[in-house]
Symmetry: C2
Subunit: 243 residues, 2 copies
């Protein structure tokens, strides 16, 4: 038996590549995204009463995992990338059915000129992610703060202070003014838990790392127990800021 699903919408997000995306939703509160609904779901009717909820579930497809397929075991980054656990004990994208699940904050709903968009916060989703379903977050059924969570009991720890070079600082100020008001805080949130695999955590390796964020290339280096943002160079691919 096979079940076929078509996306109801698509995510527009600041995260243009997998590296650097927070490993669970809510870890980077400044990571905003929008869900653009496709017809015939782009209607106020389909969303009636949703605005009364502060959070929603997104059920989505890990579209970048489709090509690679799945494995019975995975090595989660938080366990250093060298311990194998069962795929069903993980939230890894390489699953038998590559369906993802994220609780995100619903900031608002904009429906006009035939377009419907949900404004989201705390999303850990790649730009272009196909969304299969939106559900209201219902605390009495979904919030189980006492649940025991094995190896994932604690959120990823803050690894270091994030400092900005003079050049990065100036770029940040300019970008914040122009388009991305909380950019500095977003960069801090992304980098402070160290996007590198856990076995490298704590090590200042002096190497330069980079990720694409919005429409620029964010570059940083880890040295002497701190993470130094080196710069935010604009990319000319364009279209990256659609969020």
């Amino acid at each position: 038996m096979t079940y076929a699903f078509e996306p109801i919408g698509v995510i527009h997000s600041c995260f243009k590549e997998k590296f650097g995306i927070p490993r669970q939703p809510g870890l980077a509160s400044e990571a905003t995204a929008t869900l653009e609904l496709f017809a015939p779901y782009n209607s106020q009717e389909a969303l009636a009463e949703l605005a009364g909820f502060s959070h929603i579930w997104l059920v989505f497809v890990f579209h970048q995992a489709l090509r690679e397929g799945w494995r019975l075991t995975v090595r989660p980054p938080r366990l250093g990338g060298n311990q194998r656990i069962g795929v069903f004990a993980s939230r890894a994208p390489f699953r038998p059915n590559p369906i993802g699940l994220s609780a995100v904050q619903l900031e608002g709903i904009n429906c006009q000129d035939g377009r419907c968009r949900l404004r989201l916060r705390g999303a850990d989703l790649l730009d272009g992610t196909p969304v299969l379903d939106v559900k209201p977050y219902i605390p009495y059924a979904d919030a189980l703060p006492e649940a025991v969570a094995g190896y994932a009991a604690q959120p990823p720890a803050v690894q270091f202070k994030v400092v900005f070079s003079a050049a990065a600082e100036a770029q940040c100020v300019a970008y914040e003014r122009a388009r991305y008001p909380a950019l500095r805080r977003l960069i801090e949130q992304i980098l402070q838990t160290d996007p590198r695999p856990a076995y490298r955590h704590g090590q200042g390796d002096g190497q330069c790392y980079g990720m694409r964020l919005y429409d620029f290339d964010l570059r940083w280096r880890i040295d002497d127990g701190q993470c130094r943002v080196l710069g935010l160079e604009p990319l000319d691919s364009g279209g990256g800021g659609d969020n």
Copy 2:
């Protein structure tokens, strides 16, 4: 773009029909179920480290909703069945993609003789439900007790005391001894929030209601502010107790 998914397993549950199923997981803690994994997922490897989690997410298909299709708006039972809300503001099964989501308690994992079964508690799932994914419940990302939940802020209220007729009492004692140890408590949990649509709540209508539970027909009547269990008649269809 269409995404095709095949079930990783199937639910065996005491709930053999939709009427009477608790409207969210966790409301009937005595509702036990098992998830039987299909090959090649019926392996201890795929489940390694899952036993360290007290709760899991089940991502499943509302298989009984497939034929009926979806609607832009639904009338949730808790709003009395006469107020329309958007389908994305509801957890109703009649969704554009009929994917369900339930956090349930993981009681244990049994793998032997090539079969792998997860023992679950608090499941609000119909017998035969196809499961697409199992994920660990991660409180720091999934538990948002402060979330605001519009019309669904409160769990369904207990509507009345559940009492048992002498005949039902005797049947319950016999069934509990034979096979279903917490049957009486399960029946109380199912009936105390009143499975009827909300507009009938509080009304003692003297009518007799029934639902299929395990392999018997549970019958009750609502009168004078109490729910009276009339009997639990065995059904001869058999096979209903596979859970």
